[in-house]
Symmetry: C2
DNA sequence: AAACACCTTCAAGTGCACTCTAAGGCAAGG
DNA sequence: CCTTGCCTTAGAGTGCACTTGAAGGTGTTT
């Protein structure tokens, strides 16, 4: 039994990308769908997995250019595994740094929300500025 | 004793934005520096704090347009506090959702790195695909 | 026969947030 | 006097990742 073939429209819905974007990614060398006798693209479950992985990489902030390099390395065979591993590690480290920064900003945001609540229910003096209020939570080295 | 006045160049270095960007933000109504007798901008510690807060908001993913709205509300007085609070809450919720998604992507990335490690030190069968390997960590509902 | 989904190439448009240039002018410091 | 740093307006350029359009073609389905 042959594997199911998805044409671009169906596949687009399946992976949540537009047909435009799928062709664009193909142009960029990120995806290599097969063609039927009429030259029409078709995708298989193999492509579903690959696009899924691409979306994970993009989701962690990887750029198209880096993704292209990754694809080139992949095509070059197992000898490039260390380099690919290093790329992923870099992306991972960057993403973790982004998260840490995001959480730092969120902390201030949360304090500001608390401060608004305090202002509204009068548990924070009308005169106390947010800046003064923030000092209370400042981590001092 | 009068408060220290920072001209745009010095202030730019202080807050980590370019003078271009500071003028741009002023155009957009986000910052309102004062002017000396010659029409030259100057900023004070008050502006340092305000820009600092702007950067926290931007750091959590808030858009300039929303920032503008926030500034307009702020200028309209304390009666807009509930609305401002709601904006911040929205930004916070969005940022937290972003973090959750990022972490989900990171998880897959980490597994891929582990898989590479397993391939290199032969603890993962040469034949085992990443997709099969991933199944082991799949959370099943 | 018409509608539909697909195909091609090439180029232009979109959105966001800057980033920089041009061109001309003012004021303080060395 | 000259350099440095600032001022103005208006507009163009940048980077990224799409997104769309034009314009013409093929094959399948109703």
């Amino acid at each position: 039994m042959a594997e199911k073939r998805y044409r671009i429209g169906e596949f687009a819905k399946l992976v949540g990308l537009s047909a435009y974007t799928l062709r664009y990614y193909e142009d960029q060398g990120l995806i290599l769908p097969q063609r039927d006798d009429n030259g029409v693209r078709f995708y298989t479950t193999h492509d579903i997995r690959w696009v899924g992985f691409i979306l994970h990489l993009k989701g962690t902030g990887m750029r198209l250019n880096d993704l292209k390099r990754y694809v080139r390395l992949r095509a070059a065979g197992d000898s490039t595994i260390p380099e690919r591993r290093a790329m992923l590690q870099q992306v991972k480290d960057d993403a973790e740094a982004d998260i840490a920064e995001l959480q730092m900003h969120l902390k201030v945001l949360s304090h500001k929300i608390d401060w608004y609540d305090g202002k509204v229910d009068q548990t924070i003096a009308d005169s106390e500025s947010f800046h003064d209020y923030l000092q209370k939570f400042q981590d001092r080295g």
